[in-house]
């Protein structure tokens, strides 16, 4: 370095190359850290796919996908995923029927009507509900809601299983309310005020504005909030493990006991596993299905939200 004697070299240029090297090393370390998330995904895909391939060597793929009987410990064992898909869909449907209206209506109220004071109380309460561990909700579903549902059913002269899909679905729905409401709240708030003002200027009431202007404008975002909620319900494990039971019934009666994909994964892999048996490996095949479905749903939802945001920014 050629510096004039009047100005010490150290004030602008590094005294030596140490800092440059250190900074290069730091940069590499930071890049490696951000690669961990990608490695996690790769790890998930590889481990689930590898064990699933081992499983499909023993059980044909089509038999797994279209089989209507699930009895991994039976003799001979049967590995048909259809009853579990049915059970998962049934419970998810109940959950969305509960969480959809509750979550969306509370989001609309909080975004359009609520005073700042009510918002300051209701928002933390919803966050509180969102923060309750699912094992707690499962305990509540199994010990309090299920007996209540059963008693109500018996009072109406209905035959309710003690581990009904309805009880698990109801509690799962309440679990999802905060998710739908906070996402929808954000999305409704992102709708430009000018659209509302235009509607008011035409003489519309507030609710007419919400129904005819704000909601249609926010529709893509709200749909993706629902898709994320569905994905969350499909992947939820503890509530269904504790409240939905193990019986692989192919039934669409919400009062019956059904089982879900996540319940079976958890049940098959709790305790000691032998890694050469089709029974253990089938859990990974179920995991593969679960991963693919939730990934597809999440991808679609996140892309839609991103596009929606860009549209209004």
């Amino acid at each position: 370095m050629t510096m004039t004697a009047a100005r010490p070299a150290s004030s602008f240029a590094p005294k030596d190359m140490t800092r440059i090297y250190t900074e290069r090393v730091v940069l590499v370390l930071l890049a490696v850290a951000s690669a961990v998330a990608v490695l996690t995904t790769i790890g998930i895909v590889l481990s689930v796919v590898y064990e699933s391939l081992l499983f499909f060597r023993e059980v044909p793929f089509w038999q797994f996908l279209f089989g209507t009987e699930w009895a991994p410990t039976g003799n001979p064992p049967a590995f048909g995923i259809v009853p579990m898909i049915g059970g998962t869909l049934l419970i998810t449907l109940i959950a969305i029927l509960v969480a959809g209206p509750l979550g969306l209506l509370s989001a609309i109220y909080l975004a359009e009507y609520a005073t700042p004071k009510l918002r300051a109380i209701a928002k933390p309460l919803l966050e509180l509900l969102a923060g309750i561990p699912t094992v707690v909700l499962g305990f509540f579903a199994a010990l309090t809601v299920a007996p209540l549902v059963r008693a109500a059913g018996t009072a109406l002269g209905l035959d309710v299983a003690s581990e009904s899909a309805l009880a698990a679905g109801l509690v799962m729905g309440m679990m999802i309310v905060p998710l739908i409401s906070s996402l929808s709240d954000d999305i409704i708030n992102a709708v430009p005020q000018s659209l509302r003002d235009g509607s008011y200027a035409m003489g519309a009431t507030k609710s007419e504005t919400v129904k005819k202007v704000v909601l249609p404008a926010a529709l893509p975002g709200i749909v993706s909030a629902f898709i994320l909620a569905i994905s969350r319900a499909i992947g939820e494990t503890m509530i269904v493990v504790m409240a939905a039971g193990l019986a692989a019934n192919l039934s669409f009666n919400p009062l019956d006991a059904v089982t879900t994909v996540t319940v079976q994964i958890a049940t098959l892999l709790v305790g000691d596993q032998e890694f050469d048996s089709a029974k253990t490996l089938s859990a990974f095949a179920l995991g593969l299905v679960l991963f693919c479905v939730t990934l597809a749903l999440n991808y679609v939802a996140l892309r839609t939200v991103r596009k929606y945001r860009e549209h209004y920014e």
Partner: protein, 407 residues
């Protein structure tokens, strides 16, 4: 006229719509309150416990001074109880009387004598644990575990002042047990702490480093796009899938010991990493570019500007996100079931590679047991877990309020 009616109708619709919204918030709040109240009521019986205080004669014939560990302490305790009821003499009645004692009734006595062998041959006054049915009966709950005679004996002991009620320290200080009155959550509590330490030690540095790279240093190209999409999607992957990853990779390929806080912490770290990255990026983004530009303007290198000026200003936001991530990890159950943190473990874990369980898994384990007293212990564990989580959330809210800056 018809116009007037229409306006009325529209305003009625307006009021109805508003009422629906309020009702939705009301239903959700009511559910939350019902949930917490229901669990708190179920937890009540666990927080207080009845104990008998008996004077036991440590008979040298039964406790050998040379080998005090092998002594029949339960026999001594039963004798002391029988002394309270001289009229109970038949074998069957004596057995029924002993039935109100816990299987661990003599634990306190044994500890005292082992600590001080000079007590052998003397009278010792010790607290004696009752079994869970007796305790529930004394608290006024219906129980099928006791006969009417046993209930009468308990009433008599209560009247004599032999039985007293106290705070159930056992619940906080004991490990797990098959006997509900002896089962405590210390093991699960320590397990949770150890697991969270591993999670935090991994996820915080990795998450902040990844956020720094993506927000400040990464070139904008397809690769960083892929990483970003990947992180957002990973945050929404069901937690049970992370359990499969832990089982297949950490346990089967890397051979990390099963059931340990180490492997649990590893899995939970990967689980909360996306949350921490997203929160840290948001915190870094909220620091105005002028701060960095000023640092660059006076000759700082890019990294100096980021590490000396941007990062310190983003720390409150990063901490808030991390606390929320840790709170999530603390309540997570499903992935831990896959990696064996569900075993029945009596000993309190002493290190990261001891077999352990965590609070939410303890809830899951106990919720499955038929005894009424275990149901109450489950609810009490939930209350404790919720208190810890609320404390974390309150801390996050406090930090946000305290250090929030509008630029």
């Amino acid at each position: 006229m018809s116009n007037n009616a229409l306006v009325k109708k529209r305003y009625a619709a307006e009021r109805r719509f508003k009422a629906y919204g309020l009702a939705a918030i009301g239903v959700t709040t009511a559910f939350l309150l019902f949930l917490i109240l229901d669990i708190a009521i179920k937890a009540m019986p666990t927080f207080f416990v009845h104990e008998a205080t008996l004077t036991v004669n440590v008979d040298p014939a039964l406790i050998d001074a040379a080998n005090p560990v092998a002594g029949d302490y339960l026999g001594l305790t039963k004798k002391a109880l029988a002394a309270q009821f001289p009229d109970v003499t038949s074998r069957g009645d004596r057995k029924a009387l002993n039935g109100i004692l816990s299987a661990g009734a003599a634990d306190g006595l044994q500890q005292r004598v082992l600590a001080d062998p000079s007590l052998i041959g003397k009278d010792v006054t010790v607290p004696v644990a009752l079994n869970s049915g007796a305790d529930l009966y004394l608290k006024g709950y219906a129980t099928a575990q006791l006969s009417d005679r046993q209930k009468a004996w308990l009433d008599a002991l209560l009247e004599k002042g032999v039985i007293s009620k106290g705070f159930a320290w056992n619940f906080l200080l004991n490990g797990d047990s098959r006997e509900p009155e002896l089962a405590g959550i210390k093991g699960a509590l320590i397990g949770s702490v150890l697991t969270i330490i591993v999670t935090l030690a991994l996820a915080l540095p990795l998450g902040v480093a990844a956020a720094l790279y993506l927000e400040e240093f990464a070139p904008k190209n397809w690769l960083t796009d892929v990483i970003e999409i990947n992180i957002n999607n990973l945050a929404a992957v069901p937690s049970i899938i992370f359990g499969l990853l832990g089982l297949a990779v950490f346990l089967n390929i890397f051979g990390v010991p099963r059931s340990t806080p180490l492997v649990g912490g590893l899995v939970l770290a990967l689980l909360v990493l996306p949350t921490i990255i997203i929160a840290s990026r948001a915190a870094l983004k909220s620091v105005p570019p002028s701060i960095k530009e000023a640092a660059l303007g006076v000759g700082a290198s890019h990294q100096q500007a980021v590490f000396h000026h941007v990062l310190p200003l983003a720390i409150p936001g990063i901490l808030t996100g991390t606390i929320l991530g840790v709170a999530r990890a603390l309540g997570e159950t499903a992935p831990l079931l896959m990696i064996g943190m569900i075993a029945f473990i009596v000993d309190v874990p002493k290190g990261f590679t001891d077999a352990a369980t965590v609070l939410p898994v303890q809830v899951f384990l106990w919720s499955d047991l038929p005894e009424q007293a275990f149901q109450s212990r489950t609810a009490a564990t939930i209350i404790l877990l919720l208190l810890v989580l609320f404390a974390f959330n309150a801390l996050a809210i406090y930090l946000r309020k305290r250090f929030e800056r509008r630029w």
